[in-house]
């Protein structure tokens, strides 16, 4: 530690430098005495003091002091990452106050707030937070392994159909509550259908159930629903919430996760096949390491790879640790309901999880490969699937391409250098030509486009061409989105972007070129006429955006056309402006300037002109693409190489890939104080939190990541958390609230279980009897009186237990976003039941949103919602409105709010308008039904029940009222029926399940 006057301090001096200063000062002596006091008399912080220390003092130490007074060096014997004595703390206070001889930090006083914090902390004796008190928390309920409890005694023995009911009933009786009566069969089948498949029952299914008088009629319904593929789509989606499933990165650079869907389909498949949940978890953590692992197991590890990442983080070490953190956090919350992530910066404040525990677990993921590269823009790993042969072939092809590309680049670089040297003597000529060009541009800038509207009258000898009608080229033709109604061309994704046109004119001579395009930035395009560059920077304006409303006619310049056929080519190395059409109008007067006639290179002239305009230094620069300027044998050589590369590129076998992890060299991590890798603490070993290891030990291999061991440990029957956490999740998804309400947090700040014995009963039976079968667990919960209660209100019970914690009735539930959307299509009979696959039509790792462009993903498909892409940072607006939540963060407990945007969606949303139109059209085509029959059908299909007479007559009068409002509409009857359908879909009864 240095001791010198602040004025002497050089700005941002290095640590070594400080040492030099120290050697010549008298500081050692003073700090020598200080250090001797650093042994005893430490004060333990109260919770308030600890909070103050963690939020105000420790950050200052980390930022300003630990480099010299931490684990690496303890200058003057002072160490500020461990408790210090009260006397020492007082001296620290004096030092930061700059009052005594010792002035710290040496580079200048702390800012006022930091100074006040450190000084008051030091003056109060340096209270240091105590280690987490493991003694009191060791016995915390969730860390004690569950045992099967004895069945409780109840009074109303007739009510209980299953052991589960006994636990519920015992609690109800204890609290003076009584269970609600059994729900009617119509309610039951609707409840079970939504519960297991996310879809309403059809009128035929309702009729069949009503007609089935056998005692196991409901069980048959449950079995049918569990066997349907819609079951996996529904319950797979529940797990996808916990797995924070998404099809894009979100965060900073929103790149598409082109292959994420394979993981989603794997989840749906696993649930439909009833894969045991222990296996389900193992495959997600370490599928690739399991004996006999195949593609399916590799895909499963997508679970670890799917997190949101800062792909443009300039600090690769931070980036890697953030990715690991996301994995630790998601997995420990999702499978263990432990907020291990809280211990990244310091020991967990509440739970017995230490920073050491955190870095032990993080070490496992540090030894796991998730990323291919960490530099901006970072790339996540995708693993090849399928047979090995094409993969090997691809490797070879890629190697050859690399080789050829290198030799092409070498030739090109040499030729560019040579060419630049050749033109250097002509610099003055270039400057002169550039000045001329500027002059002529100024003249040309007075050119006005011939047309202002999209269409209009051109002179008879003028020509108009649609941009989409190129005879050769690679640009994307788009008549939706960017090109809706007009048709545009835009980026193809392979460069250069090219479009060539054949233009025939009756008379040769100068023509004015007008382009109609939209572009939110300068995307200048080169225009070639008959192989010669004519305009170096056409379409170089920002028209305000990329959409049809930004389309503008702009006069680009004058070009020379030959009589007869001409070849016009637009070319650009990168993203293309959205060109709609172009016009060529004869222009007798003006003559275009043609630099090449003077033997100069037009693109170089253009660059010089740009430099002159910007008043920047003038130097000759070649255009990006200069191949055509090289000697002809070199042009030939390059062309040959290019075509080789192109051929090889085209011969690449298409190999399916999955986002997945793999093993990396085994490493350990040190504790990162305050979560910063710049301040490292003690070394850790790869492992699991110590408190859990005591109950269920784990041994980590020396030279492997330990992922397989982690997976085995998590799913060990000895693990006190995993089965409890999972059955509790299932309970939450079924009953609307977990037995432990905080489903993602079984720690001390989480909630205590409302029915602890029931939770343990379910958890232990799930492992020992159900063998981790989710379908068995579903039946265990559904074939009970508890599940089959009605939602009947009781004012007395509502007073005693307003939140229905003890389940005296069934909780009314609002459908989730996906179920709402699916049901709207379902009752309109337009739901597409095709399973699996991706709906994303973008190249791998393409930007799915960027600064200007809206999400290009189309959501109007009638596929089940689980198959719609989940785009982080641009989530489907219907999802956003209905509490889908942020898919960057795992969430086992979606909210259910009521906000105005939901109502706006029901009134105005395209999904609702289109579906109800189709629903009404189909209803009206039902010639077997009269209007009353149609209304009855609506009640049965939408609400799963029969209409009352009052309801029928109300609907009828509504229809007639509406036909008047819509009298002027094209089809008043259809509009009225559509409106009626809208009210059914908008009604509470449609989106709430009793």
């Amino acid at each position: 530690m240095a001791l010198y006057n602040a004025k002497m301090a050089p700005r941002r001096t290095s640590v070594n430098h400080r040492w030099t200063v120290l050697a010549g000062s008298s500081a050692l002596l003073i700090y020598g005495t200080l250090a001797s006091a650093n042994q005893a008399g430490m004060i333990t912080a109260t919770p308030e003091q600890a909070a103050h220390f963690e939020s105000k003092v420790r950050p200052v130490f980390v930022a300003k002091c630990l480099a010299c007074h931490g684990d690496k060096q303890q200058i003057a014997g002072l160490r500020l990452d461990k408790p210090i004595s009260a006397a020492m703390a007082k001296k620290v206070a004096e030092a930061v106050e700059y009052n005594g001889i010792t002035k710290m930090p040496p580079g200048g006083k702390l800012n006022a707030a930091d100074l006040a914090a450190v000084s008051s902390w030091g003056r109060s004796g340096g209270p240091w937070p105590a280690k987490v008190a493991t003694k009191t928390t060791k016995q915390f309920w969730s860390f004690v392994p569950p045992t099967t409890p004895a069945l409780p005694k109840v009074k109303n023995t007739a009510w209980a159909k299953s052991p589960l009911d006994l636990f519920i009933l015992a609690k109800l009786e204890e609290k003076g509550l009584k269970p609600a009566p059994q729900a009617d069969k119509q309610t039951l089948i609707r409840r079970a259908s939504f519960d297991l498949t996310g879809l309403p029952p059809t009128p035929a299914e309702i009729d069949a159930f009503l007609a089935d008088k056998s005692p196991n009629a409901f069980e048959k319904v449950v079995d049918r629903l569990l066997a349907s593929s819609a079951y996996g789509e529904r319950w797979g989606r529940h797990w996808l919430d916990v797995a924070r499933y998404s099809d894009s990165n979100g965060l900073d650079e929103n790149l598409v996760y082109r292959n994420a869907w394979r993981y989603r389909d794997w989840v749906i498949g696993a649930i439909n096949e009833d894969m045991p949940i222990d296996r389900f978890f193992q495959e997600q953590i370490a599928g690739d390491l399991l004996p006999g692992a195949g593609d399916s197991q590799v895909v499963a590890t997508g679970y670890l790879a799917l997190g949101g990442k800062m792909l443009a983080e300039d600090d690769p070490q931070k980036q890697e640790l953030d990715i690991i953190d996301e994995q630790v956090d998601t997995m420990s919350k999702g499978m263990l309901a432990m907020t291990v992530g809280c211990a990244r910066c310091h020991d967990h404040k509440f739970d017995p999880i230490t920073a050491k525990d955190y870095y032990s677990m993080a070490g496992i993921f540090k030894s796991t490969k998730t990323m291919d590269k960490f530099t901006v823009v970072a790339e996540w790993q995708e693993r090849a699937l399928g047979p090995k042969e094409p993969q090997e072939r691809l490797k070879k092809i890629n190697a050859t391409i690399k080789e050829k590309t290198a030799s092409r680049d070498k030739v090109r670089a040499e030729e560019r250098t040579a060419l630049l040297a050749r033109i250097q003597p002509e610099k003055e000529n270039y400057i002169a030509a550039a000045k001329l060009q500027i002059q002529s541009e100024q003249e040309q800038s007075s050119l006005k486009p011939v047309l202002s509207a999209r269409d209009g009258r051109l002179p008879t000898d003028a020509i108009m061409l649609e941009a989409e009608n190129f005879i050769s080229g690679n640009l994307t033709k788009d008549s939706n989105g960017y090109g809706v109604g007009i048709g545009v061309i835009h980026n193809s994704g392979t460069y250069p972007n090219v479009a060539e046109y054949d233009v025939k004119v009756g008379r040769g001579g100068p023509y004015q070129l007008d382009l109609r395009y939209a572009s939110g930035e300068n995307r200048s395009v080169r225009v070639y006429v008959n192989g010669q560059i004519a305009l170096a920077a056409a379409a170089n304006q920002n028209t305000g955006g990329f959409y049809p409303q930004h389309q503008k006619w702009i006069a680009e310049g004058v070009i020379l056309l030959n009589q007869g056929s001409n070849r016009i080519k637009f070319e650009r190395e990168s993203y293309f402006p959205h060109v709609d059409r172009f016009a060529l109008t004869p222009r007798p007067g003006a003559q275009p300037s043609r630099a090449e006639e003077n033997g100069l290179i037009p693109e170089v002239v253009a660059k010089v002109a740009e430099q002159i305009k910007n008043k920047s230094e003038i130097k000759l620069e070649l255009p990006e693409n200069s191949d055509h300027l090289f000697p002809s044998e070199k042009v030939g050589q390059l062309k040959l190489l290019e075509s080789e590369i192109k051929r090889l590129d085209g011969s690449r076998p298409t190999i399916p890939h999955a986002m997945a992890v793999s093993e990396a060299p085994a490493k350990t991590l040190k504790v990162h104080l305050r979560g910063s890798y710049l301040t490292l603490g003690e070394e850790t070993k790869r492992g699991v939190p110590a408190i859990l290891a005591k109950v269920s030990p784990v041994s980590m291999p020396e030279n492997k990541s330990g992922r397989l061991e982690l997976a085995t440990w998590i799913t060990s029957p000895k693990n006190p958390l995993t089965a409890r956490v999972f059955v509790n999740r299932v309970w939450r998804w079924r009953f609307g609230r977990g037995i432990v309400a905080s489903v993602d947090n079984f720690g001390i700040l989480g909630n205590l279980p409302s029915h602890p014995e029931l939770l343990d009963y379910l958890a232990t039976k799930f492992v020992s009897e159900d063998k981790w079968s989710l379908k068995k667990l579903q039946k265990r919960m559904m074939l009970t009186s508890t599940y089959q209660m009605s939602t009947q209100y009781d004012s007395k019970f509502a007073n005693l237990d307003p939140e229905n914690r003890y389940l005296w009735r069934f909780n009314r539930k609002r459908l989730e976003a996906e179920a709402i959307r699916d049901s709207i299509f379902f009752v309109a009979d337009s739901l597409d039941r095709k399973m699996g696959g991706t709906m994303i039509n973008l190249p791998a790792r393409a930007y799915v949103t960027n600064d200007q462009s809206a999400n290009p993903i189309q959501y109007d498909s009638p596929r089940r919602a689980v198959y719609l892409p989940v785009i982080r940072a641009a989530v489907y607006d219907v999802y956003t409105a209905f509490d889908f939540g942020d898919p960057t963060v795992m969430n086992g407990d979606r909210a259910s709010t009521t906000v105005a945007p939901q109502a706006l969606f029901m009134l105005n949303g395209k999904v609702v308008l289109n579906a109800t139109k189709s629903q009404a059209t189909k209803l009206l085509k039902r010639t077997d039904l009269d209007d009353k029959g149609r209304i009855r059908y609506l009640y049965r299909s939408c609400f799963g029940r029969n209409a009352t007479e009052k309801e029928i007559s109300r609907s009828l009068s509504y229809l007639s009222k509406f036909e008047q409002v819509y009298a002027r509409a094209k089809e008043p009857k259809l509009s009225a029926w559509q409106s009626l359908c809208k009210t059914f879909i908008g009604a509470n009864e449609f989106i709430y399940v009793e």
């Binding site: 700005r11 941002r12 939020s55 800012n111 979100g250 965060l251 900073d252 650079e253 929103n254 800062m310 443009a312 983080e313 300039d314 992530g341 967990h348 509440f350 901006v376 305000g544 409303q549 920047s616 905080s742 947090n745 700040l749 205590l752 409302s754 009947q792 009314r812 609002r814 960027n850 600064d851 200007q852 940072a873 607006d877 956003t880 509490d883 942020d886 960057t888 963060v889 909210a895 259910s896 709010t897 009521t898 105005a900 945007p901 939901q902 109502a903 706006l904 009134l907 105005n908 308008l913 109300r954 509504y958 409002v965 509009s975 809208k982 009210t983 908008g986 509470n988 009864e989 709430y992």
Partner: protein, 466 residues
């Protein structure tokens, strides 16, 4: 004892830490029930008397250069072309070269004599109403992370945005409009995450009006309108749904969620009328339109955004953001593009300040004008500057902020904030303070701990408080 819901929730959580279990969840449910029976957006009183009632955040996306706008550096001009001799940041985005002087002249303005570059003559005319914080700094050198840090306080994870925190803490004054609006926001660099409620309740989510690819006059709130259903018909639809809902309630018993949903249709219907009406600016005087530069194609789009911001604020929207889209990222073509960017925003920003002042709104409206970071005083290429989160300028105005001052300073070349440094967390803490909220006390329990906008950081910048 300012916010009953909040304290109840926290007390209950404390109780649960001591072992009272599900009480905490009851607290959450009580909130949700409130959210359903009462409007959760109902205005709430601040913790202590507020200096500002609302916020307008003018975001200049891409990283405007401080040394070319509001932080003149004579030594940079003197040492132009020489190497920077100080220590470079540990983490940089791109390689850079020697010092590059600003191509623009600075001029003294107003009674305060504050210097502003010739890029901002109109803003220069307002300096006596502005507070220039020249010592801003952040933690991240990339757009995405820096945007998230400025909007949410975190450059690492998805967290609630500041508008969501403000709406959560204070509700909003006009129940026919959302509490937090963002006009033509960017969809890149975090996109929705920059106005998302993250783990806060959904009603605090920012409502986007259009996006950066849409001209302000054409921007709309999602689902606000459909062309097929006449308003008259919609009224009947809502009435029928109400009848159906009441029928159902009559035999189900009381349920605040169902009742709340019936009411939400009426709120939606009112919003459908109110929002488009506010976006219709035809009624504004020609003088006002000119003030915002609506008569000039260069300033029309951003001027329209600023005018909308004033209109929404006037009608009680708590937090309004306008975005000058991703244009300020001049790694090259600094001279040309910074000039045209400044041209697009200078008059609209000045117009907004003048208009707010003339209407007596400036005194209780906090205006924040900022990029996500600044730019380096060293050159990238010959005519560009790299990202610089280590020192940049944010302008504040109105709502309890000292007017006509400069606060803090960067070093001699404008690279690092050195004097009275203000981190983005400090800006957030100060904004909350001006709104009457103690940033350390407005917390939300999530994922095992209490979160706040400033996480474990943030100091109020006392030196700029009026």
């Amino acid at each position: 004892m300012w916010n009953r819901d909040q304290l109840t929730r926290r007390d209950l959580l404390r109780a649960s830490a001591l072992g009272f279990g599900n009480l905490a969840f009851m607290g959450l449910l009580a909130d949700e029930a409130n959210a359903q029976s009462k409007n959760p957006l109902a205005p709430k009183s601040p913790m202590y008397p507020a200096r500002a009632k609302r916020v307008i955040f003018v975001f200049l996306h891409g990283g405007p250069s401080q040394v070319d706008t509001f932080d003149p550096k004579p030594l940079l001009t003197r040492d132009h072309g020489k190497p920077f001799t100080g220590e470079m940041p540990r983490i940089v985005s791109s390689p850079t070269g020697n010092l590059l002087k600003s191509p623009w002249e600075f001029k003294h303005y107003g009674e305060s004599g504050i210097e502003v570059s010739e890029l901002f003559p109109h803003v220069g005319g307002c300096v006596d109403d502005l507070c220039f914080v020249n010592s801003m700094y952040g933690s991240n050198s990339r757009h995405g992370a820096a945007l998230l840090e400025l909007h949410t306080g975190s450059d690492t994870f998805v967290r609630p945005s500041m508008g969501s925190w403000v709406t959560y803490g204070l509700g909003t004054e006009n129940q026919n409009l959302p509490g937090f609006l963002t006009i033509c926001p960017t969809l890149g660099h975090g996109g929705v995450n920059n106005w998302s409620s993250s783990f806060l309740p959904a009603y605090t989510q920012g409502t986007p009006i259009g996006n950066a690819g849409i001209e302000a006059p054409n921007a709309r709130i999602p689902f606000i309108h459909n062309d097929e259903t006449p308003a008259e018909a919609q009224k009947l639809e809502i009435e029928l749904m109400r009848q159906m809902g009441l029928d159902q309630l009559s035999h189900l018993g009381p349920d605040p969620a169902l009742e709340g949903r019936i009411n939400s249709y009426e709120l939606a219907f009112r919003m459908q009328l109110a929002a488009p009406e506010l976006q219709e600016i035809a009624g504004e005087s020609e003088e006002t339109k000119k003030l915002y530069g609506l008569d000039d194609p260069k300033t029309r789009n951003f001027g329209h955004q600023c005018l909308l911001a004033r209109r929404f604020s006037e009608k009680g929207v708590r937090f309004v953001q306008v975005t000058h889209s991703y244009k300020w990222d001049q790694h090259d073509a600094l001279r040309k593009d910074h000039a045209s960017n400044a041209m697009e925003v200078d008059k609209p920003i000045a117009g907004l300040i003048k208009d707010l002042k003339a209407r007596g709104m400036l005194k209780d409206t906090l205006v924040i004008i900022s990029g996500e970071f600044g730019r380096t005083p060293v050159a990238q290429g010959t005519d560009g500057r790299d990202h610089n989160p280590h020192g940049f300028t944010t302008i504040l105005a109105g709502g309890g902020v000292k007017a006509g001052i400069k606060y803090g300073a960067t070093d001699d070349y404008g690279f690092f904030a050195v004097k009275d440094k203000v981190h983005i967390h400090d800006l957030h803490a100060t904004m909350m303070h001006l709104l009457g909220i103690d940033h350390t006390k407005l917390t939300y329990f999530h994922g095992g701990r209490n979160y706040r906008l400033t996480d474990v950081h943030g100091n109020i910048v006392n030196g700029i408080l009026a």
